[in-house]
Assembly symmetry: D2
Homo-oligomer: 122 residues x 4
């Protein structure tokens, strides 16, 4: 079966790149939100999240940054914390038939909210 022809003929390559990137961003957030993290373990977690989510369909690269300053501040009180959206800065780069999209998760101070949006699109 040609999955693309059967299930995806109603959307353009540009829309497909957006679709797959957005799925992966939603998945990433809800899979790893709540994971224990500290300054010492942040890098290992960033790498594992990136590699895991790069396995998803049409995903070319996933860059994950966990805010170190927040970890430093928190670790004055606790030894670790649960990973949450306000600590995360993520780029998911998706591609379908040469069309690329960069989906971003960024904590927007003015909104006090971790926003997901399309940062770049061909």
């Amino acid at each position: 079966m040609d999955v693309d022809k059967k299930y995806f003929k109603n959307i353009s390559p540009r829309e497909r790149a957006i679709f797959e990137g957005a799925i992966t961003m939603g998945a990433l957030f809800h899979q790893f939100d709540g994971t224990p993290v500290s300054l010492k373990t942040a890098e290992s977690l960033e790498n594992a999240i990136g590699k895991a989510m790069e396995l998803q369909p049409c995903i070319k690269e996933v860059e994950v940054k966990i805010n170190r300053q927040m970890l430093i501040d928190i670790e004055n009180k606790f030894q670790y914390v649960s990973l949450s959206g306000d600590m995360l800065d993520v780029k998911v780069i998706s591609e379908y038939e040469g069309q690329q999209a960069i989906i971003r998760l960024e904590f927007i101070k003015e909104l006090d909210y971790p926003l997901m949006y399309v940062e770049e699109i061909d």
Copy 2:
């Protein structure tokens, strides 16, 4: 701040509907995958998943069906099972500025895989 103007002016309303629906579908799968479920609790879980995910931006409705036949088969052996993609049939209906998209998660036997795709789009 006008979030839509600042962060979403590079995509069309149709693309926005796809984007938000896809985020919610990826989120749903990875939030609830692994939840203990049985015939007795399936309906309560379906309802709670639907209501929770309808809170996300631009989501109009979320319909969740957990495959009862699979639960019956499994419960001959165990009293419960971990929720997984092959038991789920989900529709996420998203809308932005009158443009609607229906995102579907469906287990495709021929692929032996729970596929996410855009089922309907204006």
Copy 3:
């Protein structure tokens, strides 16, 4: 195979009740942390979490309370929030061979931390 004889003969019924209750509490927290929730959906989510986790081995009852005042405060700003440990008050009642344990998850203000402990034990 007698699972209890083969795998659990090295711990007492009291220890078994603690063991199974603690597994379920850790599982509950990390399964549902991050779920979107609002005043309107809190009750449905509490019920579904309780029913799901009551399926686990040796679990008699699970009571979940999501802090409504926090939801009210948050909803002045947002329409929903991600479920987190500081909103949760949970009792997991486990039992093995007549020995009962109540495991509690409670946000302790003085610690600024959602603590899990054995609230009552025979």
Copy 4:
């Protein structure tokens, strides 16, 4: 506040080691179940899970093994799979006041079930 005196005086050090190890095992399973994984990413994921869960209270060491043969078998068909209990072999070593417990998660073929039990206890 002395948390141990206030909240844990009703259980012995041996019970405390069981309690904390069991919480961490339940947490581990439900946090990471569903994560995309392949032969190429398994080691990175094992390390990140281990390091994350070692942050929890009273946890000395966490060893995570993801079944490579299952990944090989699956990758004949797919490029990746969702992490599930039948692929996991985990040891959580907890300690409180010199009392140590080893909690094990192991897939038991005869039961067709990923069992959590106390493998060793002082």
